[in-house]
Symmetry: C2
Subunit: 250 residues, 2 copies
């Protein structure tokens, strides 16, 4: 099985297989490699689980393209397994996004600035439509991640953020006024455009801490003599994937 994985890995690293490319039909490919279809499928399944390959029933198997999203499903499972807490997720998000914002302020290009401005405008226009608002919110943060120039950090952020999507959706739906939120995004945009990493970082942290509070996900204060809540079966931990635009913004 590892034979298949290594073979495909070599093809990818060798450049003979690029994102979006299609691999031969299972029957043919298995014959080429002198292995059974079952073994081939095991290898492909492995890579599909990692997000490296995308399988489309009745169509074919392709090398994943679009924004990298590694460990997406993994985080969810491992979270359930190790009892990751919501506040920990948010803490990770804050650490990542503040750093990302600073980097974006340092390296963001005009195209990113334009895209950010666009989304800010859309957010203001959607203050009365929570669902639409959240969509632009997500894209806004995603553009910052891209502007940071570090796809690794962007991918990690995407993974962490994804698993919080539904909670954000619920929160935003009962939000009464999104104007304040939109304005914070505007300020962040201005700081990035002004190439002020420290300012961007500060504003991003401020923004996220506010969002965290809105979702009641603060870190519980350390109290002595109070058992840490025997995490009930359906405790507030992981969730599903969020939808994503295929050809990412910008």
């Amino acid at each position: 099985m590892m034979q298949v994985v290594n073979h495909l890995r070599a093809m990818i690293e060798g450049g003979s297989l690029k994102p979006g490319d299609r691999i031969p039909p299972e029957r043919d490919f298995a014959h080429q490699l002198n292995i059974s279809r079952a073994t081939l499928r095991a290898g492909i399944g492995y890579l599909a689980a990692l997000g490296v390959m995308k399988i489309r029933h009745g169509v074919g198997t392709f090398v994943a393209d679009g924004p990298p999203d590694f460990g997406g499903a993994s985080l969810s499972f491992i979270g359930a397994l190790h009892g990751f807490q919501s506040w920990q997720m948010f803490e990770a998000r804050i650490l990542l996004e503040t750093g990302l914002a600073a980097l974006a302020a340092e390296r963001g290009k005009e195209e990113h600035h334009a895209a950010l401005a666009e989304e800010v405008a859309e957010m203001f226009a959607a203050v009365d439509n929570p669902i639409e608002y959240l969509g632009h919110d997500v894209i806004f943060h995603r553009i910052i991640a891209q502007a940071s120039g570090n796809p690794i950090l962007a991918a990690i952020m995407e993974t962490v953020t994804s698993s919080m999507y539904d909670k954000r959706r619920k929160t935003v739906e009962r939000a009464t006024d999104l104007r304040e939120s939109a304005d914070m995004h505007r300020q962040i945009y201005r700081a990035i455009r002004a190439r002020s990493p420290l300012e961007a970082r500060k504003l991003m942290e401020q923004h996220l801490r506010m969002a965290q509070a809105a979702q009641g996900m603060e870190k519980p204060s350390t109290r002595k003599s109070s058992p840490p809540a025997e995490r009930s079966t359906t405790a507030g931990t992981m969730v599903e994937k969020m939808p994503r635009k295929e050809s990412s913004a910008s």
Copy 2:
């Protein structure tokens, strides 16, 4: 196939399957779920790829225990796919570890302080043995991650760090004097013990930037009119996993 995944997920979240537990033999389990062994294996393979399950040939299939390590293999592949650069890896590492160090300074317990001191001592004792030195180096950083109290960030750091292991090994092997490095670790330890998040962050950043320079992994300065190096097939990108002690330190 997703049926298997969902079933196991439910068992994990429901608490009837805990880390280290063994699932029934494939033949039995498949019969229980009224599916074929092939389908069951597809589901198990999927979870194994995510690191949720551990398969041991001739022995059985178990729920993963030990330190969470999500997306490990994934990062490597996606890296090859999207052409992640070494300096980006290092940048991600710096962002993560500086934050981790600050958190460790805030929340680290006595047990962590003791473990850190232990490793610092071992590092000083191994200044003439690069391989052994690196081992303690790795554990030192891992303890900090644990002391941060955020297993999510710790897991992410572990994933990022793993893929740099061999490069670190090569670098450390030709290092002439590790005393300076050991001393920096000592200083970081002292800052954490003194509960000085800012100091710990600063020292950690200093330490990592020095390590980065030692490996020649700085971000290439932006030069105009010079194509961004058509990433050669075997460009300096991903690498293999690093070995890890099973029952993690501390």
